[in-house]
Symmetry: D2
Subunit: 359 residues, 4 copies
C-alpha cells in the first residue's frame, strides 16, 4: 500500500535510505530450484555502481549485496530471499546546509509536507540509491527467465540522438563504452558532451531504449494490467523518469491506421512491428521495445536559489559528487525493472490462465 513493493507473484519489497545503515529488500515468490549465478548478480551491481567511469559520480560505494535467506547450497528454496547492501559511505557528512532547506526539483519539500519529518542525509529514501535493491532483484529475475533477452542502451544524451532503429544496432557493443550506447560514433559524441556538461557543474537528461526479445506469446493481462502498462509503471517508478512510449509511441499518434497496422505473416509474426510486440496488452511474440525519458539530475555544482524551512529564499552553492548525466548508470536499472515485469507476468501466465487438465 505504501508503495515499497513491486510485482504480484515474483514480488520485491525494498527498504533503505541512502545514508542509513543499509539498503535491502525481500524477494517473495521466486520459484524454488534455481541455481543462482552470483557473478551475474555482482556484474549487474557493478554496472549501476557509482565511480565506475569518469562520466559518472565519483562517490565511492561498494554496493556489495549480502543474501540472508531463501538460498541453500546455491539454489533458491522458494522461501523469501532477504538481502542487504550496507551503506559503507554514510558517515560523518555535514548536512547542515541541506537539513533546513529545500532544493529545487528535489523531493525534500514534498517529503517534509507529506510525512512531517524526513531523513535529509543524501536524499534519504528519495535517493536513487534505492535502485540498487531493484538491480539485485532484477538480476535474479533474469535468471528465472533466461530465454527472454533484455537489452537496454542509451539512445539520447541531451539533444544528441541515435537516429537508427534498434534493429541496425549491435547490442554486443553496449558495454564497450562508458555511455552504454551501441553506436560507437554517437557514444563518443555523447561522452564528450557529458564531460563538457560536467565541467560546467551542470547536468543533462537523456533517453534509454529497451528491447525485449524472445518473449512468449500471451504475457500480460488484458484490461488494467496490460503488459505495456506494467512496463510503463515500472519505468516511471525509476527516479528522474518523465516519459514512456512503446512501439510507435508518440509518433504513432500522428499516423493513419492504414500506415500503422502490422500486417500478419502466415506464421503469426507481423511484417512490421509498430505495435511494439504487444497487442491489446498481451505479448504477440514480436520484439517488445520502448523508450524512457530521463530529466537532467537536479543536483548542480552551481549556485542556486533554495527555499528554507522558514520560507526564505537563499542562494546556496551546490556541492558533492553527482552524476552529470544519469542515463549510463540507469541502463541496468531499466533492465532490472523490465526483468521484474517480465518474470511476474511469465509466472502469472503459466498454468493459472488456461485450463490444461489440472491434475
Amino acid at each position: 500500500m505504501a508503495g515499497n513493493s513491486f510485482g504480484k507473484i515474483f514480488s520485491l519489497m525494498t527498504f533503505g535510505e541512502s545514508h542509513g545503515e543499509a539498503l535491502g529488500g525481500i524477494i517473495d515468490g521466486c520459484p524454488a530450484g534455481i541455481t543462482l549465478d552470483f557473478d551475474a548478480i555482482r556484474n549487474e551491481m557493478q554496472r549501476r555502481k557509482p565511480g565506475q567511469s569518469s562520466i559518472v559520480t565519483q562517490r565511492k560505494e561498494e554496493d556489495e549485496v549480502q543474501f540472508l535467506s531463501g538460498i541453500f547450497e546455491g539454489q533458491t528454496t522458494g522461501t523469501p530471499i532477504g538481502f542487504i547492501i550496507p551503506n559503507t559511505n554514510q558517515k560523518s557528512h555535514d548536512y547542515s546546509d541541506i537539513k533546513d532547506t529545500y532544493r529545487p526539483s528535489h523531493a525534500d519539500y514534498v517529503y517534509d509536507k507529506k510525512y512531517g519529518i524526513r531523513d535529509y542525509r543524501g536524499g534519504g529514501r528519495s535517493s536513487a540509491r534505492e535502485t540498487a535493491s531493484r538491480v539485485v532483484a532484477g538480476a535474479i529475475a533474469k535468471q528465472v527467465i533466461p530465454n527472454i533477452k533484455i537489452h537496454a542502451y542509451v539512445s539520447s544524451v541531451g539533444k544528441i540522438t541515435i537516429d537508427k532503429p534498434y534493429s541496425e544496432l549491435d547490442f554486443s557493443k553496449i558495454e564497450s563504452n562508458v555511455v552504454r550506447c551501441p553506436d560507437m560514433d554517437m557514444a563518443l559524441k555523447m561522452e564528450d558532451y557529458i564531460k563538457e556538461i560536467k565541467k560546467q557543474g551542470d547536468t543533462v537528461g537523456g533517453v534509454i531504449t529497451c528491447v525485449v526479445q524472445n518473449v512468449p506469446i500471451g504475457l500480460g493481462e488484458p484490461v488494467f494490467d496490460k503488459l505495456h502498462a506494467e512496463l510503463g509503471k515500472a519505468m516511471l517508478s525509476i527516479n528522474a523518469v518523465k516519459g514512456f512510449e512503446f512501439g510507435s509511441g508518440f509518433e504513432g499518434a500522428k499516423m493513419k491506421g492504414s500506415e500503422h497496422n502490422d500486417l500478419f505473416n502466415e506464421d503469426g509474426t507481423t511484417k512490421t512491428n509498430l505495435s511494439g510486440g504487444i497487442q491489446g496488452g498481451i505479448s504477440n511474440g514480436m520484439d517488445i521495445y520502448f523508450k524512457v525519458a530521463f530529466k537532467p539530475v537536479a543536483t548542480l555544482i552551481q549556485k542556486q536559489d533554495v527555499l528554507t524551512k522558514e520560507g526564505k529564499i537563499i542562494n546556496l552553492q551546490g556541492k558533492g559528487r553527482h552524476d552529470p548525466c544519469v542515463v549510463p548508470r540507469a541502463v541496468p536499472i531499466v533492465e532490472a525493472m523490465t526483468a521484474l515485469v517480465m518474470v511476474d507476468h511469465y509466472l502469472l501466465q503459466s498454468k493459472s490462465e488456461r485450463f490444461l487438465g489440472l491434475f
Copy 2:
C-alpha cells in the same frame, strides 16, 4: 491478479464483453455519506457514448448505467457499489468473417493464443466498450474529491497540434466542439481532417493533454507507486495508448539541469513547473499535467490482409461503424482514470501516513 481491477482503497473491478449481456463493475472502498449527483454521472457517460456527433462512430448504444447496491436514499453507504450497463445493441450480427480470422493490430490473435478461446463478437473483452465502466467509476471518484479539478482535452489529431501551453487555453471551451479541443481554430481544422479521414475509410491517431489542478501537497507514494507512475499506468491501460509523458516529458530529456530546475517561491510554489506538479513521486501542489498518445484505430473500412486460424492470409473488406479518430471520445476516459488515481491516493494519504495523535 488477472488484471481486471484498479486502485487500492477506492477500487474498481470491471467485467463484460462488448457483445455479452452487459458490462459492469464493482466499486469497493467508496467512502460512505456522499450524496451522489446522478446527472453528473450520466453526463460523463454521454461524453463517452458512441453516436454523439458526426465524427465518431455511429453505433447506437444507450450506455445507461443501473446501480444495484451501495447507494441508499441517494447516498453512498460505504458498501460496494455494483452496477451494470446492459448491451442493448448486441443481437443478431453476422460474425462469420471475424470468427476464424485475426485482424492486424487487433487483440484477436493474442487472445486466442493466451486463452485458447475468445469471444470474437465485436472484440469481446478487448473492445474499448469496457471503458464505459471506468467512466462510471471515474464520475463517482470525481464526486469524492470535488475540489480537485481534472481537465482533459484533445491537443493533437494526426499532425495537427495545438502549440500553446495549457495555461493559455480556456478549458470552458473544451465541450463547445465535437473534437473536445479548447483552441477553436485548431478544433475546426481537426474536425475537417477527421471527416476527410473518415471518407477515406481510414483512421488517425491523436494526443490528449490532461491537467489536474488544486491537488493537495503530499499525494503519491515515494518508490514504486509514484503518483506519475500510477497515472502513467492508468493511461497506458486505456485501449490504443502508446505513450505517456508528464511535465517536461521527452523534451525534458534534452534539457540541462540549470534550465530544468523549478525554482521555489517563498510560499513553496515554484516559478516554473517543468516537474509537472510531482516531485519524487509526490504532488507538490502545482498543476499536474501530462500527455497521452493514442494510435490510430486498427479497424479500417478498407480491404486489408488478415490471418486465418488455419494460417492463411486472405484479403477482407473491413466493415462496421468505427471511430475514424478515437481521441474525442477518449477525453472522458482519460479524466475518469485520472480521477481514479487521484481519489485512491487521496484516501491513502489521509490519516494513515502521518501520525496525528490517533484517538
Copy 3:
C-alpha cells in the same frame, strides 16, 4: 481493501444488500476453457435457498443467477465472470420498526457507527443473503478442481452432536434429510429439536464439519497464508461463525506430543491424521477436516429489548420469517468457501512455485 473480495488468483468480489436491486459478484482469474455445468451451479444455489424445507426460513427467494460475461458458448474464456442474483422479494416492506432501532447481536449498531448511514432493510449488507454470491463462485471453483472432493455436513445442533468420526459416516446420506446430517438417527433428533425451537420463536446454534479429500500434496503457503489459516479466515467470514478448528483442534491442545504425532507409512501417508491433512501450513495429501461453530441466529420471534437511535431501550416484538437454526443452509456455504480456498491455492501452486524448466 474494504473487504469485499476473496482470493488471490481465483478472486471473487461481491456486492449487494439483501433488499437492494440485486446481489452479485465478479469472479476474476477463472482459467479459460472450462465447460461449465450450469445445473451443478443451480443445484448449489438450491441447497442454500430459503424455503427449501420446513425447518428453514419460509421466505420466498428465487435466487436465480444470471451470468453476464466471461462465458462463451458454455465455456469460460479467462475474462471476468460477472453475475447478478436479482432480489425479487425486496419490495414494499414496512421497516419503520427497524429503521431507528438497533437489534441485539445484529450489526445494525456498528454499521451506523462505522459508516454514519446504513441500508436498514432486511439487514442490508450484513444479511447472510450475501453468501448467495459465494455459493455461485464456489460452485464454479469446484468445477476447476473436480478431483478435490469437498463434503460438509451438520455435526451438531445445539447440544445434539454426532459422536462418530467422519470416517464412519456415509457422505452420500448428507442430502437425504433436511438437516444435512449423514447420521440418520441424529438427523431425526436434530430435526425434531429445530422444530421445537422454532415453535418457541427461538433459535439455536450448531456445528458444521467439513472434509476435503484427494488434495494434492503441497498446497498452502508456509508462513502467513498457511492453508488452514486461509480456511479459517474463509469460515470465520461466514455470518454467525464463532469458531474454527482443524485436525485435533482444541482437543489437541490437551494432548502430549507422543500421542499427537502422526507416524509415517512408507508411502508418505500417515497412520493417524491428527494434523488434519496439513503440516506447517501445507497439505500433505491426507484428508483435510475441520469444524465450524455457528452461533444461534440473533433474530427471534419473541419480544426483545432493543436500543433506539436516541438511546432508549424499548421492548419490541420480533417478526418475519427467519431460520430457527442456520446450519442446514450453511452447509453449501461452508463448501463454497472451502472450494474458493482450495482452487486459489491450487492455481497458486501450479508452475509458479517450483522451477520446472520454464520454456
Copy 4:
C-alpha cells in the same frame, strides 16, 4: 502471494530461516512521526526469546534486532522499516540425521514435496524462529495504537485449565510467573506439569486467551475481512495452532438465541458480551476476547519412527533443546499478531471509510 507478508496498510513482510545468516523483515506503512520506545521492543523480544526460564527451550539465542531504515533520530519517517535479527547460534551443527529424513508432524516432508528442496537445518523456514520478526513488528504496532490494550495469557496447559472468565483475573500477574498465567495457583500446577513432561522427553499442548480492550467502535470490514476473521487468520498462521474461537465460541453453538443475544444498555454498551466485542465483523467497543489452541510440539526427546527420503521407516532418537510446552513463549506472539491486525484495521478505518468533508 507467496504468503510471507501480512497486513494491508501496516504491512509486514518477513524473511529468514532458523539457521541462515539472519531473520528479519520490512514494515511498510508505519505512520511517520512516532517516537519509538526501543526498550519496549526489546522487552517483547525477551518475552519470546529461548532460554528465558527453566520450562522453555534452553537454546541460546540473543535475538537482538537491528533496525536498518525508516527511523530517523528516534522517530518513524513513514518509509519502510527494515530490520534484521542475526542468527548467532547457527553454526557447526551436525544435520546428517535430519537431512535425509522426515520427522512426524513436522513440515520436512511437505516442504520437500512442494519445493523439491529444503533448508533442513533446524526446520528452516518452518521453524517458529520466524515469529521473532512478528514480535518486532507487533511491538511497533502497539506503539501506533497505544490506547488499545492487548493482554494474552496461558489459560490451559494440557488438561489443566483456568476455569475463571478473564474478567476475574488480574492481568498484572501475567508476567509474574514463567508460565504467563495470571491465576497463581493454576500457574504453579501448570509449571509442575510442564517440568514433569520435560523429564519424560515429551511435550504438551495448551491454550492462550487474548483480551483486547479499549477498541474504538467500527474496526473491521463487513464481509470477507471481518475483524474476527482477520484475527483468526493471524492466530492460525502461528506455528502449532489448531483452533481459534472468539466470544462464546464453540460453546455458543450449543446455545439458544434467547440466551445468546447481548442486550443493549442505553449508551450502546451491552449487558453481556457473548459476541466477543465484534458484531457483523465490526468492533462494537466491548472487549474483544478469543482463545487459541496450540498442539504439543512435535519434536520429542524420545525414540521415534521417521521416514527416510528413500521411503524407509527408521527409528531415531530425537535430540536437541526444544520447548516441552510452547504456550508460555507464544504469549507475546499472540499479542504481536493481534496488534498487527488491530493497527491495520485502525489505519484502514481512519478517514478512508467515512466521508468527513474531505478538504
